[in-house]
Subunit: 133 residues, 4 copies
């Protein structure tokens, strides 16, 4: 996280864009940089990114704390309460990501017309109902 | 986790037991070893403990993977899908802990009579409705 | 709901009890009265029952209100907020039922020994992780 | 539900639009017809509306079924399983409404520019994280 990017460099060719099997691709988001790099965000707010990195480091610490609690045979109910605070912290990360997604990728798809917006509605509904908890 | 404990050593005095403000304490669970050690489980199944340590190490790795995804500006929806798999993994830990809690602490409290079982019902309901998601 | 029962009449024969395929059955709960009547609770606290009947009548009214909101093309976000309050009300019913279940059926099973308590732990874990949300 | 509306009649004056305290209002959605009528959807797909009315009628029947189960002292775990199927059915209604909301109100707000899209992101995040479960 040395450099703060507000706009992700998109190294895709027109060919890639036209052969992508996901219709979402053409809206400019979710395009892999390279074969092995995974899909990228269209844009990421640097403050949101910072907050999420910090949150995830704290979550990593909480998970190590949970390992210690389990190793020490701590009271199950106390460990479970701690687990629920990790769930809560993960939801904060998810919420920040969802805001970024709505603001950039979803907005770009929705503004570009029905070809992009229809698959974006499907993706959003899946994220909301399958992956937000 | 060098030694597998099936029964947690309870170093409490009668005094401690009688001054505990939580009625659950007398059932033998949730008693702190020492001032700084936190409450202990009545008993922990060694297999369940092993599985949970392994799960939590895998979760720690997943959380580090999430940090990398955020640093790399990966597609928000892909990060969110990954977050949801961490939630799922945490729920497996919680479920294992809940089984251990029911089997040992809750059972001891429920068998000991109404003085222990009533606060245990309250604790279980709180865990189920506040802390299991 | 004319009569308040604190203990459910169990019209089962010894034969029924011995042929029940669910081990939970022998603890006295979950036994059908008759072929067509469904499984019964071991005992139901009359106050809890009253509260649940009242809650469910209110929920029925809320669901009719939702129908009207949909018919009137009300703002989607307002309908969704209303739906979430029905979820909340249903969870109150579930919580009351879970308390009753812990207090009577689960306690009877857990006190009766491992033959009953083991399947009860499984049932509780299923209820908690599959059916409490 | 005798007539199927695809576009909700908007009886608001320019004055109403300009004095609305919620910025979302100007996008054309969420405007009350009249003082007592509540906010309206910008548009409702007639098929989605039909499906939701049908689902809500079925849910009303399920809630009446729950009342009967409670009155009959049915096994708590069976009632809880039934409650969880009502939750599931309500989520289907919510999902359909969310799709309509994304497709019409949210899309109109997002296309109209930052003045409308920013409050819409907030509203969506609230719906997703507070009201979708």
């Amino acid at each position: 996280m040395k450099e703060k990017t507000t706009r992700v460099t998109k190294k895709r060719s027109a060919k890639q864009a036209s052969t992508g099997e996901l219709p979402v691709l053409q809206c400019g988001c979710a395009l892999p940089d390279a074969a092995d790099a995974g899909r990228k965000a269209l844009a990421v707010d640097p403050d949101a990114k910072d907050r999420n990195i910090k949150r995830l480091r704290r979550i990593e610490g909480q998970v190590r704390g949970l390992q210690k609690m389990v190793e020490d045979d701590r009271y199950c109910a106390d460990i479970m309460t701690q687990i629920s605070s990790v769930h809560e912290a993960l939801r904060s990360v998810g919420r920040e990501l969802m805001r970024n997604h709505l603001k950039h990728c979803a907005t770009a798809a929705i503004r570009s017309g029905p070809e992009q917006s229809e698959p974006m509605y499907d993706e959003l509904l899946n994220l909301i109902y399958k992956h937000s908890r």
